[in-house]
């Protein structure tokens, strides 16, 4: 009954030779979407916050605990070997999925937030000092702002910010002016979670490199929605979360070239990250183990592997194309509601329709939509600088995934009409 056969080995993320999937069957792979909420079918439009999980991912977790559960890298026994094979096998899948040259470059972390903190605490502490500058963009999620602020407090480095226009596009000329020999790091999002803007990340990266800076890309909203090729982008660090791409919570990936990882000090100390330990001195294990202290989230890794197989079987190009159609339908639905306007109208957008309705607070939109079965996000979306720049306290946000439907765009329109009706519009 599965919409896609996810048993095959994952091909490279972008290959689009496969036929158009049966999207209704794909949707049926997601048990959570079959529910009703307050007597209405659930319309899940909060995918930028987290995605739903297909049955194959849920089954993979169950199968892991029923058949393969053991601690990894530790036992000589058969079961531990099985768990280790499963865990390291997923690292290879991740590498292929983002076109990383070497699986060892993919460090498992708890999510994008932890990945960015890992880089701030290792690369940042070692390479960024007083008088140095870190360039961020207005679009950043708080998780790509606060770790750098903490680092700046500690080291005396400074943050510079790439401004954006009213549409939510970064001002590249202004960016060029910010770059100088003082710039040690450029840390920018690939896709904005608040506005959906796809940033010109290749250009951002190449300009940073030309200025001698290291580049970190927050890929939390990109990897779930489009093919990502870290080599092509030219980033030094590329970071993303599993839970936004059909995998469980608590697992993510921080990628960097092997030489860069090798040049950094370890982060957390503990088991698995050492080579030898004595009370005088310990020596570090090789990358990636050096950055994976302690028993990791093995079930999360297994689930991430199943999610990558699942997405690859559909094909990321097809997912991106499907979501583009869905996003356009959502935006059109919003614009048909009187007093509604889109917030974030960049030429290049993915997945996210942020909006406001004249005279109605986003919170009230969210509550009334919820009564219609719709899951929308309202608030500042952990991107307060975006809201401040646009002079808005908050927005409502509908964010799509490939399993959404055009009927759900109609449901969004109907729910927003109800919002306006309640407010006597």
């Amino acid at each position: 009954m599965s919409g896609v056969s996810a048993k095959k080995e994952a091909p490279a993320a972008g290959s689009s030779s496969r036929p158009e999937p049966d999207w209704a069957a794909v949707r049926a792979d997601f048990p959570a979407l079959r529910q009703s909420v307050r007597g209405k079918p659930l319309v899940y439009l909060d995918n930028a916050a987290t995605s739903q999980k297909p049955q194959v991912v849920i089954d993979a977790l169950r199968q892991y605990y029923e058949q393969h559960n053991a601690n990894i890298h530790r036992g000589v026994h058969w079961l531990s070997e099985q768990a280790t094979i499963a865990y390291e096998g997923v690292r290879k899948k991740v590498a292929r999925f983002i076109n990383a040259p070497d699986p060892r470059e993919c460090v498992f972390v708890r999510g994008a937030t932890e990945g960015i903190n890992l880089v701030a605490q290792t690369f940042g502490r070692k390479r960024i000092g007083k008088g140095d500058e870190i360039v961020l963009s207005t679009l950043e999620h708080h998780s790509n702002i606060v770790p750098w602020q903490l680092l700046c407090e500690e080291t005396g480095a400074k943050i510079r910010v790439i401004p954006m226009n009213d549409a939510g596009e970064l001002l590249m000329d202004e960016y060029a002016k910010l770059l100088s020999p003082k710039t040690k790091l450029v840390a920018v999002t690939h896709v904005s979670n608040a506005l959906g803007t796809i940033t010109p990340i290749k250009r951002i990266a190449s300009m940073a490199k030309a200025a001698g800076a290291t580049v970190l890309v927050d890929g939390a909203q990109a990897v779930p929605h489009q093919p990502v090729d870290v080599r092509d982008i030219g980033a030094d660090f590329y970071i993303f979360s599993g839970h936004k791409m059909c995998a469980p919570t608590g697992i993510g990936v921080a990628w960097a070239p092997l030489a860069l990882w090798n040049s950094l000090p370890p982060w957390q100390g503990g088991g698995d990250m050492i080579s030898t330990v004595s009370f005088e001195k310990s020596t570090w294990a090789e990358v990636p183990a050096k950055f994976e202290a302690g028993t990791p989230n093995i079930e999360g890794v297994v689930g991430l592997g199943a999610a990558i197989d699942y997405l690859s079987a559909i094909c990321m190009d097809r997912i991106a194309a499907r979501e583009k159609i869905l996003l356009q339908a959502m935006e059109a639905a919003i614009l048909r509601v009187s007093g509604a306007r889109l917030v974030g109208t960049a030429k290049e957008k993915a997945g996210v329709a942020s909006f406001v309705i004249e005279g109605i607070h986003p919170h009230d939109i969210g509550t009334i939509a919820d009564r219609e079965g719709l899951a929308l996000r309202t608030g500042h979306h952990c991107a307060q600088p975006v809201m401040t720049r646009l002079g808005l306290p908050a927005t409502a946000r509908a964010s799509v995934a490939f399993y959404n439907t055009l009927e759900e765009a109609a449901a969004l329109e109907a729910a927003l009409r109800k919002v306006v009706e309640v407010f006597g519009g």
């Binding site: 005279g359 986003p362 919170h363 009230d364 509550t367 309640v422 407010f423």
Partner: protein, 150 residues
């Protein structure tokens, strides 16, 4: 729809659109601001006390329908009350909006404030309905210091 109108009743919507006492009190003796960072709501409450009595009260700020209406109606209810009465009213109001879901409100008569009884069915909105009240309480507690430090 019936449950929605519990929250977005006529009176609440009226106060949202035309908030009463939506003004700064230049010679306030007490003031405080309340923020709901997650929603981006922000409110300032101004009180002018005459002895122990609330002679005047106003508010300014930005927020959802519930928080605006709650602030507006709060100002109407508190004018003329003593500090102690205001605090007591907040206690009862708080108990009403935070009672268990699905339970009818059986507490003391809260007069006009009873229109917020429906908020209890929307737990995530409780903070909207109580933001201005928390600010009012902080203003009364902080007194003149709050005024001068701002």
């Amino acid at each position: 729809m019936s449950d929605l109108t519990d929250l977005y009743g006529e009176v609440i919507l009226d106060h949202c659109k035309k908030p009463r006492n939506f003004r700064l009190i230049p010679d306030a003796t007490h003031k405080a601001s309340g923020a709901n960072p997650l929603c981006g709501d922000h409110i300032q409450v101004y009180l002018k006390l005459d002895g122990d009595k609330i002679a005047d009260i106003g508010f300014l700020g930005n927020g959802c329908a519930i928080s605006r209406a709650a602030a507006s109606i709060m100002t109407q209810e508190l004018i003329g009350k003593t500090k102690l009465e205001a605090e007591e009213l907040f206690r009862k109001y708080h108990a009403m909006v935070t009672r268990d879901m699905g339970k009818p409100y059986e507490g003391e008569d809260l007069g006009k404030l009873a229109i917020f009884a429906g908020v209890a069915e929307f737990p995530v909105r409780v903070k909207c309905a109580t933001l201005s009240w928390h600010a009012m309480e902080a203003a009364l507690k902080g007194g003149a210091t709050t005024v001068s430090t701002e």
